[in-house]
Symmetry: C2
Subunit: 455 residues, 2 copies
């Protein structure tokens, strides 16, 4: 990797020099040889003055290819657009795939969007306006309208002719969607099947009528799952009357899968967004501090709870020794059960047996784990402190705590899922606190009850 | 989702009935209408008797399409293969894409592999043998050899002719790779470009000579990253002399991204594999218990450490109240810093400044977070316990603990990365224990030092 990065940096340095020397030809020949993804990587590192020159050196179409490849984390679309001549900017947006243009426009305020759409070509503006309506995280919000639709009543040869004509503008040409006169989706044919078919065959004869499609309001995670399971390169998007509205291509789905996974991961780690780049300690602190403050106050609750048992603690100070062990084990088992439940929900893998079955299984798991750990603890404490009752107390606490904490870890996300709240939100603070409280109540409750055996 | 699942279950019931009634025609017409992914879903739920019938009802080629779609988690390849007639099984393996066949064979022992390869067509056996050599998790292990390679010195028309001929067997037809007489990779042309080009143009004129490729030993995560960043549908795989060996298609990469993400997630949650399906409490316990036992013994270390301060605790029992708060906050900040570092390493996003810069930034983040949380604690404890010195002790402990824990959270995965150990392994037990120990040493150390202000 580092070799490639080095090479890119050398190229970038050369390009900056070309910009500084106003070497139009030299810059263009070097820059356009780069893949648009690398162009974007270089672009975001330029100074404003250099960027302004670049806008004059590239065509709107070339700029569009670059702009499509700016990564989400680095976006500063508004700033870049404001640096461009408005006409250049809207021509660039016109040349972008509609779904990518919509991503950019979603970062601007309404007035800015309206002004770019006004100076844009009417047809492109209309397409973008329609896409802007769809809610975030739905199929509609990630689909594009640059697909190839054909009618069934024509030959392979004539379909190939249409394909040749439309290929330069379509986001994918590897599936052709077949529609009837009312734009209902009635079939699909892959380019592979088209190519191996005889020129004179009719599309209606060779198309597949069993078309997989997603509905425009469907959650993007569900779309991603379908695409992954069935290995499609694109999926058509339809409304409730089966009108073909757009397509979703596999590259967008790769991004969705990536985002969703790191979203779950971020929440488990209690960081607002693990993947955004930190510019310095302040921006990193801003991302983590809100969680820490919540956790701090929840921790105070736990401290307060222990405070209730101060009398017990005063008499048997050694009890304090095992607090982190018991609370820690409760936190660990809870996190395990939670992570399994969250992933299962995210992957749509909830078994038929329903939630009760899951809870029952988690209870079983908790008892097994609790029993094993409990016995180990009794043994270790006995040999270490030569105090059988203390060992018994800690061991039974571990058994009870692990059982309850495991159930809680699975129960909370399932309930949140039922309540249509993203279960991953529960990961950090909730489970840890609930389990801290449970473990301390069990441990000190038992210690207070059986005090006479401990002193 | 549940509608679709219901539909699939109804279909499955009908198919089982057809199998039971030995309705050959009815079964085939219904079954082959299903997408191979759904066929696989139905297949894995059948009883052995039904499966045996199914092997007789389907051709090796039809069975191959189904077999390619059995999900990793559900695999029981060995059992299925042993139920088939050996000749049928090896014909099926022949019809599978080579990379998928290799996945299946990797689950068998050497003798079994050898016996299937012996009865297989020589050419197919040779291809599979070569792929079996590559190490797991490398580009070689996920590539396939069913690609289309052409020479530069021919017209578009003749390339299209080759394409039509080879399309049915190739895993992707959307990129044609151009090689010289020694099989060196010299160019690439997308089907899109081929289709819009005039028939009489030469491939050498229109191909792109700037081919992105990956080396056969490259890590599959690096390959996935490239494919995601550059939005390729396939990438060619070459050896160190730039000979074209195979291709990797986007569907395999989607699986890699998915696996890697859930692998990191599993390790953060200290579960061996969050995504494998639990059949019952015992299998779930088996996945989690090893981690819990490790954590238990590490927890004992912490308990032992607190035990060293028993004298201090005896005098000031209230100190125990804040143990879970301080240890918990250390654990939380450590997990945050760790999660950020692990993801950054996984995404190849390590900044140029190097590790020192990251550590310095984390130290800054830790101090900011520690200062904010520390001041909050001083205030809360003062109002709650009316004890300024206790508040000061807890507050300063939080400041010191958070700073050190944040640094540790980033430092450990960076060191592991340097030592070529997967940094995600550190997630669970390590960081938590290190931070427990750090926080207790700081808290009780200070309490013991400043004892006179507390009593």
């Amino acid at each position: 990797m580092s070799d490639e990065r080095e090479k890119l940096e050398i190229e970038a340095a050369k390009l900056v020099t070309a910009l500084e020397n106003e070497d139009f030809e030299g810059f263009r020949s070097m820059f356009l040889e780069q893949h648009p993804y690398d162009q974007a990587k270089i672009f975001v590192k330029l100074e404003q003055e250099e960027r302004t020159k670049l806008y004059h050196y590239l065509s709107p179409e070339e700029m569009a290819a670059l702009f499509e490849n700016i990564e989400d984390e680095e976006y500063n679309y508004e700033m870049y657009l404001s640096e461009m001549d408005p006409r250049f900017a809207s021509q660039m947006l016109e040349h972008m795939y509609a779904d990518d243009a919509v991503d950019v426009l979603n970062e601007l305020n309404k007035d800015q969007v309206a002004s770019y759409l006004t100076i844009m070509d009417d047809e492109a503006a209309q397409e973008i306006r329609e896409l802007l309506h769809y809610e975030e995280f739905t199929a509609g919000s990630i689909m594009t309208t640059e697909f190839i639709a054909i009618i069934a009543n024509q030959t392979v040869k004539s379909a190939m002719h249409i394909l040749k004509h439309e290929a330069p503008d379509a986001e994918t040409i590897y599936y052709l969607y077949v529609i009837d006169e009312d734009k209902h989706l009635v079939g699909v044919i892959s380019l592979r099947d088209l190519i191996v078919s005889d020129d004179d065959l009719m599309i209606g004869e060779i198309m597949s009528e069993r078309v997989f499609s997603v509905s425009v309001g469907e959650d993007q995670e569900d779309v991603a799952r379908k695409m992954r399971d069935y290995n499609f390169l694109a999926l058509p998007v339809v409304d409730f009357q089966n009108h073909l509205l757009g397509i979703i291509t596999v590259d967008d789905i790769v991004d969705v899968i990536d985002e969703e996974a790191s979203d779950d991961y971020s929440k488990l780690a209690a960081v607002s967004d693990v993947d955004s780049i930190d510019r310095g300690p302040l921006s990193a602190a801003k991302k983590r501090l809100p969680w820490l403050v919540i956790l701090l106050f929840l921790g105070m609750l736990t401290a307060n709870l222990i405070g209730q048992f101060e009398e017990t603690l005063d008499k048997v100070a050694i009890l304090a020794v095992f607090i982190p062990l018991i609370a820690g084990m409760a936190g660990n088992t809870g996190t395990q059960a939670l992570a399994v439940a969250v992933r299962r929900i995210a992957m749509g893998d909830l078994e038929e047996g329903g939630n009760l079955k899951i809870i029952a299984r988690e209870a079983g798991t908790g008892i097994i784990n609790g029993a094993v750990c409990g016995f180990l603890v009794i043994g270790v404490v006995y040999f270490w402190k030569h105090d059988f009752f203390l060992g018994l107390l800690v061991g039974i606490s571990i058994l009870a705590t692990l059982t309850v904490a495991t159930i809680a870890g699975a129960f909370v996300p399932l309930v949140m899922h039922r309540l249509k709240v993203d279960p991953a939100v529960a990961s950090g603070p909730f489970i840890t606190t609930i389990n801290d409280i449970i473990s301390i109540l069990i441990y000190f409750g038992m210690a207070t009850l059986f005090m006479q055996y401990l002193i």
